[in-house]
Amino acid sequence: MDSRLANTWRLTVNEKKFIETALASDLRIDGRKPLEYRKLTINFGRQVSVPIFRPFFFFFSCWVLSVMEDGSADVQLGHTHVMGFVSSQLVQPYRERPNEGTMSIFTEFSPMADPSFELGRPGESAIELGRIIDRGLRESRAVDMESLCVLAGKLVWAIRIDLHILDNGGNLVDAANVAALAALLTFRRPECSLGGENGQEVVVHPPEAKDPLPLIVHHLPIAVTFGFFSTEYTMVVDPTHSEEAVMGGRMTVTVNASGDICAIQKAGGVGVPQSEIMRCLRLASDKAESITKNIKDAVEAFNTERMLRKIKRHSTAVAANVSIENDVKGQKDKLAGQRVNESSMSQMERLKLKPDESSISQNDGLGSETRSSDQISSQRAEGNAPLFLGGPSSWDPHTHGVDPDFLKASLAAQGKSNPKAEQSSEDSDDDVAMQEKDASEDVKPPSLATDSSETVEEQKTSIVKKTLKDAVKPKNRRRKKTRS
């Protein structure tokens, strides 16, 4: 496309004057103070946006689905929207560095972000952005490269970070940096082990077999951008798009929460006195602390959810609305377990807990006991199915959960066999899963509603909400019994 066609948006002289005059009285056009940062929102994985239609047809449901994917982050800084994806691959290392993994950053200024962004070769600002983020991560040794080495000199992990700029509301560097960091923190690479003769063969374990490992990130370098205006040494933090069009110069400081400066970028622009620069560095340190806390909180919340999800995968639990097919049996059904999140009304007729029950029986061999519980549970299934036609609220994360008393009663009613069955199915899982369960036992997730309900006893959509404690406790007791 012709650039003259694309640049249809230009600030008028009046708008420029207005922005500068307002700044002289310490006012910014979006109402912020000159040193105020915009609101930062970090989302992980692919979160489907809130649905907007009611289920007139039971083909379509209106539940909020949040499926989490490792290594993808969605950051919104005011109007600026950036998505980061991290992926990994086994490659040969560089000759000079046979013991280290590699990391590369690809930034895409998508034409959807700004009418002036064009497809094709990245422009100067795209390259500059990529370089700033790269320097911040690589040269400050934020990500541990040596732990990515698999076979020295032969095979190492190459981490690739893709940053997609979706909406340009100003200050792309900061937002993209946060997206890269958030994606790196939640990324999990597959575990691999050496095998074969001489230990020269590398076996990569799929996520179902062995849990993937996180990257080792030593510290978080946060980029803070300042805008300088040609009038009176005015300075603003986190400029918006209109301010960027007016400002005379910019400086980006990459600093981590302990106050170490990782990188400073000031490429030309209006001259700024030394004292101002020092002031900027101090401000950047402060901002970096709060942003680091923001990122860490978001990552914590995501990791908690992921642990819960893992537990669901290992337990042969059924979401009331989803029928588990026969191939759910055994441990290969982790994928299906994830599918469990997708459901619709019509599933209610197909509550098939029998395969679920029978998979438990396979695991622990308590044949007769579990079979009897099969009947109980399937009767329950049939009995309660009619309750749920036409009511999507059972999947709505904002409905209130079931009261724990009812859950305990149902637990007791089904007798020992079920929990025992679950226990042994747990036993056959990785130790890692058990540790995670122990760790998360303290967590009471209200967000559990969005995930499929666990445990065999729960066959009804009404019992979707079950606190983790109810689910986990009996199992732990069982574990000790069966193990000892």
Partner: protein, 237 residues
């Protein structure tokens, strides 16, 4: 009650995945929409009529330009093919003579691909065009139907299912029109408008009967989908 095929996630063969659509999510773009089917999610943005057409385009009509951005990796031939299919589909639903000698660009970003990606993208682009206010004759609704080994038709496959099935078809139908005109006037050759196929892309092997069955099933599913789409677009005005 035996189903023809037991699907991994427990859906019946005739059941599409959970749908979610939202409009006006980007601030700079003139129109934007995100569309997701189960785990497949696509984001589309539209920049409204810009002056001038591209080199070999007809200056007496509006030109549509589609840019497809994959999730990771370089843009290759597969992406170019998707761009071309989408461009032709959108050209047939837009009123091209309203703004001659202009270019409207549609940018599609793949957020996640879990089967039936192209239909998802077409639906997202359609919603984004509505959000941008581009004049159109009618909307387009797209669906993916695949043919299993034994010849049964399955709707809206996931990526795994797509790879396992014998063949699949992406079908795009026009949205049914709510019109004040008397019923018979919008018929084309005696058949209502929404029975026509705007676009059909097939992969794999299937017999003529199987294809026609796919079309029949797809059309029924799209009829429901177009109602839901219309309702959602009207509601969020």
């Amino acid at each position: 009650m035996m189903m023809e095929t037991d699907r991994k996630d427990g859906r019946t063969p005739n059941q599409p995945r959970m749908l979610s659509c939202s409009r006006n999510i980007l601030h700079r773009a003139h129109g934007s929409a995100s569309w997701s089917r189960g785990e497949t999610k696509v984001l589309a943005a539209v920049y409204g009529p810009k002056a001038g057409t591209k080199k070999n385009e007809d200056p007496e009509k509006a030109c549509i330009e589609v840019i497809w951005k994959p999730k990771t990796g370089q843009i290759g031939k597969a992406e170019k093919e998707c761009e071309m299919i989408m461009k032709k589909t959108i050209q047939s639903i837009c009123l091209l003579t309203v703004n001659p000698n202009t270019t409207t660009s549609v940018v599609v970003q793949v957020v996640n691909d879990d089967g039936a990606l192209l239909p998802c993208a077409i639906n997202a682009a359609c919603a984004a065009l509505v959000d941008a206010g581009i004049p159109m004759k009618h909307l387009a609704v797209a669906i993916c139907c695949c043919v299993a080994e034994e010849g049964s038709v399955v709707l809206d496959p996931t990526k795994l299912e797509e790879q396992q099935m014998r063949g699949f078809a992406y079908l795009v139908f026009p949205n049914s029109a709510l019109s004040a005109l008397p019923k018979g006037s919008s018929l084309v050759d005696g058949e209502p408008l929404e029975h026509g196929i705007i676009t059909s892309v097939t992969h794999g092997v299937m017999s003529v009967d199987e294809y026609l069955r796919c079309v029949g099933r797809g059309r029924a599913a799209c009829a429901k989908l177009s109602d839901v789409l219309r309702r959602s677009l009207q509601k969020s005005e």
